[in-house]
């Protein structure tokens, strides 16, 4: 029997505010344990939490970008449970009146667009971090409360995804949007994006959903796909054997590459929600939303379509260039300048996709560092030199490397280092004669009818000229010599 995979995702995104959600503590990652805590986030008696306005506006921004309906009235609630990572014994969260609901996110898988429903987006505070010492005999756990009270946004999707690939695309798109908005880094390794998944199988053609399992501990984008694929297979095998699926929480075990049942004290959740009396409710009016909309950038999908029509770049180029807002912001500034100066747009995009990315990857630097050293107008002037054929196109990497390290312009570097393309017959002839003399075998191949052998000779001339010879001219002269 064939099954359809049904996946819903619950994603937690940590918002990138300077201070925590209800107090002024720092939010930086990697601080020494229990150094970013105060009476409010420690839940000491008699303190009063006050909502960080930035965290609320970031959340509104995110919900608008996810096409959500925004509630005109919302409030916070206490969700009660006892666990050592939660010093107050309740988490401030949102229960029956989340600030937003009923949105959607369009994802692309295999070139096809699919709409995934967003059930709700709400705001809550994060809990602390627990460490369980490795040694078996240790009878204790350790608690670091630095993360307690960080602003956390929960995004719940509808069970609209039908493959691990779709779930992966949803997460990728979500991350991209949050980073464009600047509301979160969405770094799974650092825990600023966390994902739980619900997965069930439904016999093809049937309407009712099967029993679902909830999968936790999906700590990287790669794990998400792997864990979901594993879980779908596990459930299918059980069903094939005529066994039942139990509704349960399962943990992804990366070492063993399996999901395993979390048999602990799951059972009777009873969160005893009630309205948080320490926080007044929030009213959201159209004026406020309009102000927030004004601060929102063009979102990745819209930007891709516009770039393709406005600059005639390919789908592939648009996809690569828009992965990070800072990269496309830089490239687009360069493209606009190129248009003004009649520089070929393809020269600019080829530079970004080639030598620029190479520098970023090789030097392991942030893109912002690159833009500081090579502003867009400098990149355009290099593209201009390529257009004018002042240098051989393969030299662009060498020039750009130097532009990045010295901050000099392309023109100056080309001049100082004498990198101009050499097309002069008199300068090239001696090199060509030398190469022919030293490569008699290749020459014989060529004369014997193997016409492609000439490219090996062109390569030799290029090398001998330190990459500066005009390849077309070299080929032309070689053909004449050997003809």
């Amino acid at each position: 029997m064939g099954y359809e995979i049904i996946i819903g995702l619950e994603v937690h995104v940590q918002l990138k505010t300077k201070s925590k959600m209800f107090c002024g503590c720092l939010t930086g990652f990697g601080a020494r344990q229990n150094t970013q805590v105060c009476p409010v986030c420690l839940g000491l008696p008699g303190v009063l939490p006050v909502i960080n306005k930035q965290s609320f506006e970031y959340a509104l921004k995110a919900a608008l970008a996810l096409n959500c309906q925004i509630a005109d009235f919302t409030k916070f609630d206490r969700k009660h449970y006892y666990y050592p990572d939660l010093p107050k014994n309740y988490q401030i969260s949102q229960y029956d009146i989340p600030f937003s609901h009923d949105g959607y996110l369009d994802i692309k898988v295999d070139g096809k667009t699919k709409r995934v429903g967003i059930t709700r987006v709400h705001l809550e505070e994060d809990a602390g971090k627990l460490i369980h010492p490795e040694e078996k005999e240790s009878q204790y756990s350790l608690v670091d409360l630095n993360r307690t009270g960080m602003p956390l946004m929960e995004i719940v999707s509808e069970p609209d995804m039908n493959s691990p690939e779709e779930a992966h695309a949803y997460l990728t798109s979500l991350k991209e949007i949050m980073r464009y908005l600047g509301v979160s880094d969405c770094d799974m390794e650092k825990g600023t994006l966390r994902c739980d998944a619900n997965l069930s199988l439904r016999p093809k053609g049937k309407k009712e959903l099967g029993v679902k399992s909830e999968i936790k501990n999906l700590n990287s984008f790669k794990f998400v796909s792997k864990a979901l694929a594993y879980e779908a297979k596990r459930q299918a095998e059980l069903l094939e054997k005529g066994e039942r699926i139990i509704q349960e929480t399962r943990l992804w075990d990366e070492a063993k590459e399996v999901t395993r049942s979390m048999r602990s004290k799951e059972g009777a959740h009873d969160y005893r929600y009630f309205p948080e009396p320490d926080l007044e409710p929030i009213r959201i009016d159209e004026k406020w939303l309009a102000d927030i909309r004004k601060t929102m950038p063009e979102l990745p999908e819209a930007r891709r379509s516009r770039l393709i029509t406005q600059y005639g770049i390919s789908n592939y180029e648009a996809n690569v260039l828009t992965q990070e807002k800072i990269i496309i912001d830089y490239t687009e500034q360069a493209l606009l300048k190129a248009k003004e100066q009649n520089v070929t747009l393809a020269s600019v995009t080829n530079l970004t996709l080639g030598p620029v990315f190479k520098i970023i990857n090789k030097q392991k630097i942030e893109f912002s560092e690159f833009t500081r050293k090579v502003p867009p107008e400098n990149l355009v002037s290099l593209a201009n030199e390529l257009d004018k054929k002042t240098i051989v196109s393969t030299m662009s990497g060498v020039v750009l490397d130097e532009m990045f390290t010295s901050g000099k312009t392309a023109r100056n570097i080309i001049k100082e280092k004498g990198l101009e393309q050499v097309s002069d017959k008199n300068a090239l002839e001696p090199i060509i004669e030398e190469v022919i003399k030293n490569n008699q075998k290749i020459v014989a191949d060529y004369k014997g009818g193997k016409k492609s052998a000439i490219m090996a000779l062109v390569g030799q001339v290029m090398r001998a000229s330190q990459g500066k010879a005009n390849p077309q001219k070299v080929k032309e002269l070689l053909t004449k010599h050997l003809g």
């Binding site: 229990n34 000491l44 006892y82 009878q139 756990s141 007044e280």
Partner: protein, 95 residues
């Protein structure tokens, strides 16, 4: 409304508490009385009343996103029954 032992056990489990049989008997009586008392509220007709989520007629109370000094680690840990290496130390919890 009568509370039974199962409910007392549930409430104890949620609060990570252990009661003796003797205590449970006392609590059954006390809890039942409290609930009976509160039951009276149900006799009020609230059909035309909007639910109240907060007793103050205020909304949109925010603070700017600014940092304030935190406690020192020594201060933060000073009330902890047990601590080690800058951490709060608690009975082992396993997920």
């Amino acid at each position: 409304m009568k509370v039974d032992e199962k409910q007392i056990d549930h409430i104890a489990a949620l609060g990570r508490l252990k009661f003796t049989d003797q205590q449970k008997k006392i609590f059954i009586g006390q809890f039942s009385k409290i609930l009976e008392y509160v039951e009276k509220v149900k006799s009020v007709d609230i059909n035309k009343i909007e639910p109240l989520v907060h007793t103050f007629d205020q909304h949109n109370v925010f603070r700017p996103d600014e940092n304030k000094p935190s406690l020192t680690r020594e201060q933060a840990l000073s009330n902890a029954p047990e601590q080690t290496k800058g951490f709060f130390k608690v009975p082992r919890v396993i997920e």
